[in-house]
């Protein structure tokens, strides 16, 4: 290394201070932190909308909000949680962890990285701002089905452009991740030695690149249908509203794997650490993730079994959907086999990870039930669907994100978090989320439709239980914020390795890692992962 480059590095270590450090940041750790903080804020904004929903559903009859506002709460809650909380949290983790996991100095395209983050606040200003304008926010459901969504008032163009921005942001993030992993691995870090979190993110990034532009196209068609006289989805002009559902779910199904695959990666990092055993079936995990991703493009119509598909179509999409259970089963099996005869300890990350494996599997099974065409006609658009996707997204994706936060917080801040409080947070979350969502299965099977502000009295008891669980879950997340702030401010010093069973490059760096890590590429050997 020449003296010139060393001087450059010295220069770089004088990081900008104050607001400029964040506004103009090209540092993967700072951008990762911003993503994570943003995701947490959005988690609480979306969460408070969920509180409005559960308060309204606490008793039958209309209590607190009018139906239009209720509908916009349902719609915006979904958009905020999907595009504002879970996806940015995933990208934030990728930013923070991928370079230090593969031994790279930073992300491949640092300026684009900055841009893809700073688009987000503007996109959500557009989306959330609609709640305060004439006619209120979008209220046609996050799936934006025409012709209903075309009846949205002034909020409509804001909704469309917010979705465009979010798409652009996540595609830029995806390109950056793939470019980093393909071009900046340390010597010896072969593809089949990549930590599983990196693998799942590479595959997620491909899903993003292949599916997000299709959503952008679909919402652009909505926009031109409303304002420029096209008839893509307008039957009066020879279009077809069902076409929108096909295009939307061609994006929408890969999207659900975009939300969950990074969670799979997180769990695959955490379980070996606390079971003190290498991950069981590493290669099969990689192939299972890839096959889930590929299959996700061939199952979209299982979201629309009731629109009147021909019987061959219904059968094809039913069988293709069943097929996804196979690689997913492989993953669950591997996680359990990793724990088998391991020397397990149960710190907060591990508790969340084990809860993930159990509760995600429950959500997976209810998904299988929904995937069976004939019975889907009963479950379609009921609370059974709501219970299903909250089991995979809340007790699935969000639990994995919580696990990752506890797992890596000591690495990020240099301090250990308060383990006792974290365990209380876990138990409150685990119990409350089940009280919240399990009764919704029964509500759905009994026929309660989703997206309604009022319901028949026979649904009252389960709704009250569900709402109580909801409030408990909401309040207990404040504890998480307290734990994070407490940890950032100080505590017991964390070692480089943090966890006794932690293996991999990121644990060879100090806690917190230096502002620029791996300026000299480390040498990666097989022994790095040995127990």
């Amino acid at each position: 290394m020449s003296s010139q480059t060393i001087a450059d590095h010295d220069h770089h270590d004088h990081k900008p201070v104050g607001i400029k450090r964040w506004l103009f940041s090209t540092n993967h750790k700072d951008i990762g932190t911003m993503y994570l903080v943003f995701a947490l804020i959005m988690f609480f904004i979306g969460g408070s909308m969920a509180m409005v929903i559960r308060a309204e559903l606490f008793q039958p009859g209309l209590q607190f909000v009018d139906p239009q506002f209720y509908n916009s709460m349902v719609t915006v809650h979904a958009l905020v949680m999907i595009f504002g909380a879970v996806m940015p949290a995933g990208v934030g983790l990728a930013n923070w962890m991928i370079p230090i996991m593969i031994g790279a100095p930073d992300m491949a395209l640092p300026r684009m990285n900055n841009m893809s983050f700073w688009i987000l606040p503007f996109a959500f200003a557009l989306l959330l701002g609609t709640l305060f304008i004439d006619g209120g926010g979008p209220a046609g459901g996050w799936t934006m089905y025409p012709p209903l969504v075309l009846q949205t008032g002034k909020a409509f163009p804001y909704l469309i452009f917010a979705v465009h921005f979010l798409g652009v942001s996540s595609i830029m993030g995806a390109i950056n991740i793939i470019a980093t992993v393909f071009n900046m691995r340390a010597p010896g870090m072969t593809l089949m030695r990549l930590p599983l979190f990196v693998w799942t993110w590479v595959i997620t990034a491909f899903l993003l690149i292949a599916s997000m532009p299709v959503l952008a196209g679909a919402v652009t068609m909505l926009l031109t249908d409303k304002y420029f006289g096209t008839s893509f989805f307008n039957a009066a002009g020879g279009g077809d509203p069902v076409l929108f559902q096909h295009i939307f779910w061609f994006f929408g199904h890969p999207e659900v794997y975009i939300l969950i695959l990074p969670a799979f990666g997180i769990i695959s990092q955490i379980i070996p650490t606390f079971a003190r055993k290498p991950l069981f079936g590493y290669a099969s995990m990689v192939y299972a993730t890839a096959s889930i991703a590929i299959l996700s493009f061939f199952v979209w119509a299982h979201h629309m079994f009731t629109v009147g598909l021909p019987i061959t179509g219904e059968l094809f999409f039913m069988y293709a959907t069943m097929l996804i259970a196979v690689p997913t089963g492989v993953k669950v099996f591997n996680w359990v086999a990793t724990m088998w005869k391991g020397a397990m300890t149960f710190e907060a990350p591990m508790l969340f990870a084990i809860a993930f494996v159990i509760l995600f599997t429950i959500g997976g099974f209810s998904g299988l039930m929904l995937g069976i065409t004939p019975v889907d006609f009963q479950y379609h658009d009921t609370y059974f669907v709501v219970a299903h996707f909250h089991y995979v997204l809340l007790t699935g994706a969000v639990f994995a994100l919580m696990a990752s936060a506890y797992y890596w917080l000591p690495k990020w801040t240099g301090y250990m978090y308060d383990e006792k409080l974290a365990k209380i947070h876990f138990w409150l979350s685990a119990i409350a989320s089940n009280v919240l969502f399990f009764p919704q299965h029964f509500l759905g099977l009994a026929g309660m439709p989703r997206r309604i502000p009022d319901y028949s009295v026979q649904f009252a008891d389960f709704n009250m239980i569900s709402s109580l669980g909801g409030f408990a879950y909401g309040i207990s997340q404040l504890l998480f914020v307290y734990i994070v702030i407490k940890c950032v401010l100080g505590g017991k010093k964390a070692t480089s390795q943090v966890w006794e069973g932690a293996r991999g490059l990121e644990w060879t760096l100090s806690s917190p890692p230096p502002f620029h890590s791996f300026t000299k590429p480390p040498k990666v050997t097989k022994a790095l992962m040995d127990y």
Partner: protein, 181 residues
């Protein structure tokens, strides 16, 4: 080990893929139409030319019941009624059915009808040689008009289909819509 040229290449390739996928979203529109036409999905009906029509063989043994249905979409102040509720037809023979449409308000309106045939498996065997659908119909205030559809049911129609429904929905034509608002 950072490969600088590699980063640029990866970024260019991935951006291209992004643009292609955006195009693919739009390509799904014509693909969907072709798919519907081939499979008869969505109630797309078959067409028959005069040359083909002259070669038809009539199957006098079989009767199929055609039910006629009519709808008006939301913001159109018209009345549409089939002049016959049902018709029993022999496959391979041409029939003419009529609908009466009436403008109920004091304003000239342009409308357009969209057809649909169910069950889906039968829709391609329902072949029209002449139809008032997909054409702009102008009705003066209070005007009444007879609209005709000429069709035959193909003799290859699956054996288990005993009846099918022909449905028309009138929409306000898009051009007219704009004028009105």
């Amino acid at each position: 080990m950072t490969k600088v040229g590699g980063i640029k290449r990866t970024a260019v390739i991935l951006t291209t893929v992004t643009l292609l996928m955006f195009g693919f979203g739009y390509a799904l529109v014509p693909l969907y139409d072709v798919f519907c036409e081939v499979t008869g999905l969505n109630g797309k009906t078959g067409r028959i030319s005069n040359a083909e029509a002259s070669k038809l063989v009539v199957d006098n043994q079989r009767f199929i019941t055609i039910q006629f249905d009519s709808n008006i979409n939301g913001n159109l102040a018209w009345k549409l009624k089939a002049d016959q509720n049902i018709l029993k037809v022999n496959p391979g023979k041409f029939y003419v059915a009529t609908y009466t449409v009436e403008n109920m308000i004091n304003e000239e309106i342009v409308g357009q009808a969209i057809p649909s045939v169910s069950p889906q498996i039968a829709s391609l065997y329902f072949k029209k040689s002449d139809c008032f659908c997909f054409r702009n119909q102008v009705l003066k205030p209070g005007e009444k008009k007879k609209l005709t559809v000429r069709f035959e049911v193909d003799k290859d129609i699956p054996k288990d289909v005993e009846s099918l429904t022909l449905s028309y929905t009138f929409f306000r034509a898009l051009k007219d819509n704009k004028k009105a608002s």
